[in-house]
């Protein structure tokens, strides 16, 4: 019986740690729950029903909110031998994640709903309910590591296996949330195949289940279609950096900064090079396009910072991650009031307002903030 690094403190009265394992119906969260049991904890499984109108079956490898997923989670809990419940958090999810997602796109930004879900649902609504019901911790199948310092404070670190690391989507957790979080998969250097092999050994049928990648509430993976249905068509202009009209679009919300495909501009650029979305202006419903080098961002400001521990003072050098599966880049960052000001050592591309920037100190997650505006190398494409 060995516990995971950074597991929440054992209860003072000597009883076992009561752990609520969030089980999506996928292989990772099932193995995480099984490992929590093996570590000697008193584990209860819960599946979050996040969709008001769940589909009966998964189609392909998308989403995680079908009734079949709920059954898979229940079946895994049965095999592991833990109680299992299904909690309906659909209303909270709709308000805090789905509506936010739509509103962000409508405002010309590019949100990350997974971060938002971790912040507002898994480690807020779910965690609060769990604590109120007498649980000590929430356990998930995320790949990230919690480190406890000598003074008892906690740090969130990247997973031992950088290729699997999911600390980016957990960058919104504060220290209180971390104190009640358990990530049994975080310290394993392992391939997905090995997790599947472990699931197989444990008799878990989800061992062979395909991974889910897409946004769980957009079952068919068609984000544009989902947004079009919610926001309606709004025809507007596609212009170049000088403001010349190159074509039209059916809704500025359908674009992401850095996007190249699907612009449907009839004639090529004068220099023959591909054009990218540089800017989205929801006010004028205009999409500005231009060459790749116009995407180069040298600095940004980000709002709503959240710190995994104490907020850093003064300017500091960090590495930053800008997307869930993105690489690291070196930055200097400083908190000015409630605004995080970030400068990149080398210009980076494809930075969109709405995305989260997560700052790291080595493997340690320092904190995160939501990108509000960017500074470009070329002045033509004005930052928002």
């Amino acid at each position: 019986m060995s516990d995971f690094p950074g597991a929440p403190s054992a209860p003072r009265d000597g009883r076992r740690l009561r752990v609520l394992a969030a089980m999506s119906g996928g292989v990772d969260s099932a193995v995480a729950a099984a490992r929590a049991v093996e570590a000697g904890h008193d584990v209860t499984g819960v599946h979050l029903a996040l969709s008001a109108n769940p589909q009966s079956f998964r189609t392909g490898a998308r989403g995680c909110c079908t009734i079949e997923d709920s059954r898979d989670a229940r079946r895994a809990a049965d095999v592991i031998g833990i109680p299992f419940y299904c909690w309906d958090l659909a209303e909270r999810f709709r308000e805090d994640v789905v509506e936010d997602f739509v509103a962000e796109y409508e405002a010309g930004r590019t949100p990350n709903p997974c971060l938002r879900c971790n912040e507002k649902i898994k480690f807020a609504a779910l965690l609060d309910k769990a604590l109120a019901l007498g649980f000590d911790a929430v356990c998930t199948g995320h790949y990230a590591t919690v480190v406890v310092n000598e003074d008892g404070t906690r740090e969130l670190h990247r997973a031992s296996d950088m290729a699997k690391d999911q600390s980016y989507v957990l960058g919104v957790l504060d220290e209180r949330q971390l104190a009640h979080a358990m990530f049994p998969l975080g310290d394993t250097v392992t391939t997905k195949d090995e997790i599947r092999a472990e699931a197989e050994r444990r008799g878990l049928a989800v061992a062979k289940k395909p991974d889910s990648h897409d946004i769980c509430f957009i079952a068919d993976g068609d984000t544009q279609g989902f947004l079009a249905k919610r926001l309606g068509k709004a025809e507007g202009d596609i212009v170049d950096e000088a403001g010349n009209r190159l074509g039209t679009h059916e809704g500025a919300y359908g674009f992401t900064i850095g996007q190249r495909k699907g612009l449907r501009i009839g004639h090529p650029a004068p220099d023959g090079k591909p054009r990218y979305v540089l800017d989205i202006s929801p006010v004028t419903n205009t999409v500005t396009v231009g060459p790749a080098e116009a995407l180069d961002v040298t600095a940004l400001t980000a709002i709503k910072p959240r710190w995994c521990g104490v907020a850093p003072e003064g300017p500091g050098t960090y590495t930053a991650q800008l997307r869930a599966h993105g690489g690291e880049t070196e930055v200097t960052a400083e908190l000015v009031g409630e605004e995080l000001r970030v400068r990149f050592t080398e210009p980076v591309r494809g930075v969109a307002p709405g995305q989260a920037i997560v700052l790291y100190d080595g493997t340690r997650v320092v904190g995160s903030a939501t990108i509000a505006a960017t500074e470009r190398v070329r002045t033509g494409a004005a930052a928002q």
């Binding site: 029903a49 709920s70 109680p83 419940y85 299904c86 909690w87 109120a132 019901l133 007498g134």
Partner: protein
């Protein structure tokens, strides 16, 4: 362990287990003509006779099915189809909003696929349908009513329906009435002949018999269109090889349920009253669902709403202490929704989220009640802290 979910399923009676296990090794298709077949046939027919006797029916009125859900579907759809075939004007189905899903969803299906016009008879705050409401509904156009289906007693809140009054009204217009009596058998005086019903659903595993067997009691003059076509067993109404051991065990359970009913109802009713008193003492603002008058509710049923609590939270916390009960109908499991039954009684939707059903049965003891009495106060307090998410 305090098992207080007998309305979901109750342990098999030892006598039924014995009847069933004794027959399991024996071969014999009740439709076969040879000796083994004749033996199986005899077992089935003896079971049919004893079940008929226990329920006040004639043996030929017992149609064995694979359970309550199938019997409900056969009655609702089969009678609808037959009545409409006899007169195309008959498309109206009168039911109550507090039915079990086996009736409710069958009726919905008829509306969606078979052109049925479904009308929900109003229920009062206790969840009861009244005869005058049925009369009013039928009188609007007696010619277009295909059938009436109203349960004998409610599975969630325990309210007993005035079955004989309802059938008396329908009889004036010659309209058949079906009742789901799955919860009533063994607790109430269920007499098919005296009830005036055209069809009545009963289930094995709710009365100490096995899972997977039930029956539709069906008046001899009714020939519902079958759901299952095949060998023509069971009056050509329900094809399929009969499950001989299950039928025999079901019949034993049915016989014992009838024999022991009066005593069981008295004893379990007293225990149930203790449970209600204990919950009220521990949680003064708990709201009793259904009829507070014991004469109007199933003797084994106690149903509460706990203000400010999520039923799921209550269930989880009680489960962790070895107390097994239900938030409502177990068939709604998966995503918890406020019970349609509780909402139909006019209960505030927030209050309807915090419901618990305790249902007692033949294995229930004073210790079970004491366990609830000790646990319910702190559990409700904790669930309130967690609140309504």
């Amino acid at each position: 362990m305090a098992y207080l979910d007998h309305a979901a399923t109750t342990p098999m009676l030892p006598e039924a287990v014995q009847a069933m296990t004794a027959l399991l090794p024996l071969a014999g298709n009740a439709s076969s003509l040879h000796a083994a077949g004749r033996r199986a046939r005899r077992t089935v027919e003896e079971g049919r006779e004893s079940l008929a006797a226990a329920l006040g029916a004639r043996p030929s009125e017992v149609v064995f099915t694979a359970g309550g859900t199938e019997a409900d579907n056969l009655a609702v759809k089969g009678l609808y189809w037959a009545r409409r075939a006899a007169d195309p004007a008959r498309t109206r189905v009168l039911t109550s909003p507090v039915e079990h899903h086996a009736v409710l969803d069958a009726v919905h299906w008829l509306a969606d696929h078979e052109g049925a016009a479904v009308e929900y008879l109003p229920v009062d705050a206790l969840g009861r349908v009244h005869a005058d409401a049925l009369r009013e509904a039928i009188a609007r156009n007696p010619a277009d009513v295909a059938l009436v289906t109203v349960m004998w007693a409610n599975n969630e809140i325990g309210t007993v329906m005035p079955v004989r009054e309802l059938t008396a009204v329908a009889a004036e217009y010659g309209i058949p009435v079906h009742a789901d009596a799955v919860q009533a058998v063994g607790q109430l005086d269920v007499d098919f002949a005296a009830s005036g019903l055209a069809a009545m659903t009963v289930s094995g595993h709710k009365i100490g018999g096995p899972y997977g067997v039930g029956a539709l009691l069906l008046g001899r003059q009714y020939a519902p269109v079958p759901l299952l076509h095949g060998g023509g067993q069971e009056r050509q109404v329900r094809s399929g090889t009969l499950d001989v051991p299950a039928v025999a065990a079901f019949a034993v359970a049915g016989t014992l349920a009838a024999e022991r009913r009066a005593e069981f109802a008295r004893e379990i009713g007293a225990l149930r009253d203790e449970l209600i008193a204990a919950v009220r003492a521990a949680v003064p603002d708990a709201v009793l669902g259904g009829d507070p008058d014991p004469a109007g509710r199933l003797p084994a049923n106690a149903h509460f709403s706990f203000p400010g609590c999520e039923g799921d939270s209550l269930l989880l916390l009680l489960d962790a202490q070895g107390i097994e009960c239900s938030t409502g109908s177990a068939c709604t499991a998966g995503v918890a929704q406020p019970s349609h039954v509780v909402l139909a009684t006019g209960t505030d939707p927030d209050l309807a989220r915090g419901t618990l059903r305790f249902s007692l049965g033949h294995t229930s003891t004073k210790e079970d009640v004491a366990a609830v009495a000790a646990a319910i106060g702190p559990v409700v307090e904790r669930a309130r802290t967690a609140g309504l998410s």
